[in-house]
């Protein structure tokens, strides 16, 4: 970063005249060095680029003005822009259709760019943030990160030379017990002291964690964030030394970090990472993220080489656990994105998504070309008067740019809405429940610049390509046809493009319509039971992130007792009608494939599965149609554990026959045959109004055992709508049962369903926009083709009409070419649609493919015919004398 950006220097060298180049480069170099020293490298880079753009513009204009003082050549003028705006007003259909398509395509392209640059691979806002790295073990085959790297972390910390301040962290949830007595779950970073050295941020008050803090014998300490200090401790200047209770343990606050500090992800509480490697086998232990900072003068490649060597050594020493592992040095942001360090993948993805814009713009280019050839007379006259080809193409480019920049602005607005929703999703999936500190929500400058770039690209395709074609070799010949209206022709490429476009539209419409219909149905349906009277919360034991394969801290018995105590305390709370547990929210459950045994024949079916506590049915007053619900003895049955099914299950799988007493089992996983279950009861379908159209509503209920981890969703049915005060009261009850008991995401079931509907609504909207733009462009393509065909044959129509030809026959002839293209597109599209349907086993169209496809074909043909109405009417209005005069 000591020299100006190479690309900018390259641009400068190309733009500047040879006699001025050295002096200007030297001056800018000198000023860049001064800027860097005064304002830092990033601002110096930006300054340099701004200067390069300024020099490029000034010298290009200067050169053009020297060449011809009256004609600035390829430099667009204000008049060109005004002409562009006028063309939009003159052709509103083209402006609306093309603009809509380009806006959607730009939104998709810019959205992908924003996602990759701002969310997946943004720069880390720390001092020399690009040198902070994650050290990870990736599975050689799946490329998934294996985070049980405690022993590797110990080795890396002591042996790596190319990475310094190697540390590790994990995120855990603790109950912060305040003076009010109730616990509130907070997200805590259990982090090695090296984390603070890597971040290079000094504490505002007190001290950060130090190496001795992670000693198990050291007193428990905590460092808090600025937001916590401000909101919870009212900026208490004497906070250092005070104690705070995190779960069962009292911690001493030793420091406060400055505003904005949230390393490693978005944390506000930091406690020492105390994990004893001796207590865990190699390849076992808690899930950790390891990180460090590249040593001064070391490159990422050198660090990778050193880590690879250590990885080979570990693989030789512990083949069982390490032979599959691939140690990688990755950008720090991969700690959240779960990437594999290959940020070039993002570049490829962005480029692929940008291709959508290219495709859309090619479509718009067809329309613009059709319009441009109608102006070939005007172009020819201007050429004859001395305008260069570059000048005319520049004007066409500028006209297209007006359309593309307006579309880009609309696209940016869509991206801004989408990003707000993306933030919502990031918060949902983030282990800390907030956006990582390096993500700057909303539109970044980079995204805006990229979108402007897309607008230029769009204008090049939409304006320059048709412009070059329209000003090609046949221009001179056109001078003779100025009065005739049109010249040029739509070549085979354009025609093929329209056929492909119609085919593509017909192929994607059926699955899109089916999926869109299902999503819309889900987005608009309302639960048909009093979901606003149900409060839900996720119940967890205070612990670090769950450690698979590690012995739980509390036995199932203890946990079961706590669960039962919570349930009885909640049920006894005033205003509560009943409380129970389930594995997830009612109606939001998993699909499984089951096998049903019947007379030695086993058939497989899809069903939904849900694990509930025995009290689930009584709490929600679910009616029993046959048999019984679960009872206390069911849990004791180790084998042949009973299940309950709903009415839809009994009706669809047993077709009216008695279900009670029948046996089912899940389809084998990894060749392991699953045990049989006996159906002991049939209950009514519940919950009503949250079904997913297109997905089975057949459901199997399993009984969650005492202390089972499936009992994670607490469901409380109230006697009336949930009041805002109920949440804090519920927390208080939980803390009274056990200070380490955590209740997360307390909300009404109604709000949970509303969240889900919102997601479905957004997906439906996005789908509708993309499909709508494709259908519109396709229709517009057909319209352009029809219009062009009729315009080209005006003279022929006039002559035929003058000779007394039948109007219908004339039109049939005129439209025949367009019709066969339409037909070809529909037939190819239907074929593709059938292939897609077969390939997905009918899943893409939810079994409605055959019913939908003829409908879609008719729909497209109708659109084509409707698009032809205008040009056809114009064709009929051609007066014979007018046509003959053009002869």
């Amino acid at each position: 970063m000591t020299r100006p950006p190479r690309l900018a220097r390259g641009v400068l060298q190309r733009v500047l005249p040879a006699d001025a180049r050295d002096a200007i480069e030297g001056d800018l170099f000198q000023l860049f060095t001064e800027h860097r020293a005064r304002h830092g490298a990033v601002r110096a880079y930006l300054w340099y680029w701004r200067e390069v753009l300024s020099f490029s513009t000034r010298f290009t204009v200067d050169r053009a003005a020297r060449r011809n003082p009256l004609d600035f050549g390829a430099i667009p003028s204000r008049l060109d822009f005004m002409l562009g705006a006028r063309m939009l007003a003159k052709y509103p259909g083209l402006a609306l259709v093309g603009g809509f398509g380009m806006a959607v395509a730009t939104a998709v392209g810019a959205g992908a760019f924003a996602f990759f640059t701002s969310y997946l691979y943004p720069p880390l806002p720390l001092h020399q943030g690009d040198r902070v790295v994650v050290l990870a073990n990736l599975d050689r085959f799946t490329m998934d990160a294996n985070r049980r790297l405690l022993h590797d972390f110990v080795v890396w910390r002591s042996e790596l030379r190319s990475v310094v301040d190697v540390g590790a962290f994990r995120t855990s949830r603790r109950n912060l017990i305040t003076d009010t007595g109730h616990g509130e779950p907070v997200v805590v970073a259990e982090m090695a002291a090296a984390g603070f050295r890597v971040a290079r941020v000094a504490p505002l008050l007190g001290r950060a964690l130090v190496d001795g803090d992670d000693n198990p014998e050291a007193p428990p300490v905590v460092v808090i964030g600025h937001d916590v200090w401000r909101t919870r401790f009212h900026r208490d200047g004497s906070i250092v030394g005070r104690t705070v209770r995190l779960g069962r343990i009292v911690h001493t606050i030793v420091g406060v970090m400055p505003e904005g500090f949230a390393f490693p992800i978005s944390h506000s509480y930091w406690v020492p990472l105390r994990v004893d490697p001796a207590a865990h086998a190699v390849g076992a232990g808690p899930e950790l993220h390891a990180f460090g900072r590249l040593a001064p003068g070391t490159t990422k490649e050198q660090a990778q080489a050193e880590l690879t060597l250590l990885g080979r050594r570990a693989a030789a020493a512990y083949p069982a656990t390490h032979a599959r592992l691939l140690p990688r040095v990755m950008p720090f942001t991969d700690v959240f994105a779960d990437g594999n360090g290959d940020d070039w993948e993002a570049t490829i993805m962005t480029a692929m998504v940008a291709m959508l814009l290219v495709l859309v713009c090619l479509n718009v280019a067809v329309l613009v070309y059709a319009r441009t050839v109608t102006r070939s007379g005007e172009i020819a006259v201007r050429t004859a008067l001395g305008a260069t080809r570059a000048r005319i193409v520049t004007q066409l480019f500028t006209e297209a740019f007006v359309l593309s920049i307006l579309s880009a602005l609309a696209g940016l607005a869509l991206v801004a809405i989408g990003l707000r929703y993306l933030d919502f999703i990031v918060v949902k999936i983030s282990e800390t429940g907030t956006v990582p500190f390096w993500i700057d929500p909303g539109l970044s400058t980079g995204t805006i610049v990229y979108t402007l770039g897309l607008a230029v690209l769009g204008a090049v395709i939409v304006g320059v390509l048709p412009g070059l074609k329209a000003t090609g070799g046949q221009l001179r010949a056109t001078l003779g046809h100025i009065r005739g209206g049109t010249g040029g022709h739509l070549g085979r490429t354009w025609t093929a493009l329209i056929v492909v476009q119609v085919a593509f539209t017909v192929a994607i419409l059926p699955p899109a319509v089916v999926k869109g219909g299902l999503l819309k149905a889900m987005a608009t349906q309302a639960p048909r039971f009093a979901s606003e009277q149900v409060v839900v919360a996720t119940v967890e034991r205070e612990s670090s992130a769950p450690v698979e394969g590690e012995r739980p801290r509390a036995s199932a018995d203890t946990w079961g007792t706590t669960q039962a105590a919570l349930l009885s305390r909640v049920a006894a709370t005033p205003g509560v009608a009943g409380a129970t547990y389930a594995s997830s929210l009612p109606g939001i459950d998993d699909d499984e494939r089951i096998e049903i045994g019947s007379g030695g024949v086993i058939r497989t079916e899809w069903t939904r599965t849900f694990t509930v506590a025995a009290s689930y049915f009584s709490v929600f007053n679910i009616k029993v149609d046959a048999g019984r619900t679960f009872n206390a003895t069911d849990e004791a049955l180790a084998a042949d554990r009973p299940v309950i099914v709903n009415r839809s299950f009994a009706d669809s799988l047993f077709r009216g026959q008695a279900a009670v007493g029948r046996r089912i089992r899940y389809a084998a996983h990894d060749d392991r045959v699953q045990p049989w279950h006996t159906i002991v009861g049939v209950v009514e379908d519940f919950p009503a109004g949250v079904e997913e159209p297109g997905r089975t509503n057949a459901r199997i209920y399993h009984l969650a055992a005492h202390g089972a981890p499936e009992n994670r969703q607490l469901l409380v049915r109230l006697q009336g709508p949930a009041a805002a005060a109920f949440g804090p009261m519920l927390r208080e009850v939980a803390t009274a049962v056990d200070p380490a008991l955590q209740l997360r995401r307390i909300r009404s079931l109604d709000a949970a369903y509303a969240d889900r509907r919102r997601t479905m609504g957004m997906v439906t909207l996005a789908l509708a926009l993309v499909v709508g733009s494709i259908v519109l462009l396709s229709a517009a393509g057909i319209y352009a083709l029809m219009s062009f065909t009729v315009n080209q044959r005006r003279k022929e129509i006039g002559v035929r009409a003058a000779l007394g030809g039948d109007a219908r026959r004339i039109l049939t002839t005129v439209l025949s070419r367009a019709s066969w293209q339409l037909l070809a597109g529909v037939v190819i599209g239907l074929g593709l649609s059938l292939v897609i349907d077969r390939a997905t086993g009918g899943e893409m169209m939810a079994g409605r493919g055959l019913m939908l496809m003829p409908g879609i074909a008719i729909f497209m043909a109708t659109i084509g015919m409707l698009a032809a109405v205008g040009p056809v009417r114009r064709g009929l209005r051609v007066h014979p004398t007018e046509a003959l005069r053009a002869e």
């Binding site: 001025a20 002096a23 001056d27 170099f29 513009t57």
Partner: protein
């Protein structure tokens, strides 16, 4: 050389060179104009103007030796020529003639 075609910005650049003792290079010229006018000047505009002035014979230029602190590039020094000084004087006289009898402080706009 007539002062015809000497634009306002060309005059500013020429005056800045005079202020800088008649011999200087682009960076101080930009600074001088910005300091005296209180306006930000597009650096590129100064370079383009210097080239035009040289083509008109109003200034002359030569390159200095390259230096490492300038990325191995030299500096282009410019010097006002007699024609330049004359054009500047003529432009000033023309402006004075036009202003004669007017008081800038009493200028009113509708």
């Amino acid at each position: 050389m007539s002062h015809q075609g000497l634009g306002e910005f060309e005059q500013m650049v020429l005056v800045a060179i005079v202020h800088l003792r008649g011999e200087t290079y682009a960076i101080p010229i930009v600074d001088e104009i910005e300091r005296r006018t209180g306006r930000t000047v597009a650096r590129a505009a100064v370079y383009v103007t210097l080239r035009r002035l040289e083509e008109k014979g109003l200034v002359s230029s030569w390159m200095s030796d390259p230096t490492p602190e300038r990325g191995g590039k030299g500096r282009r020094y410019v010097k006002i020529e007699a024609a330049g000084a004359r054009a500047l004087r003529d432009a000033r006289q023309a402006a004075d003639q036009m202003w004669r009898g007017l008081d800038p402080a009493k200028l009113r706009t509708r």
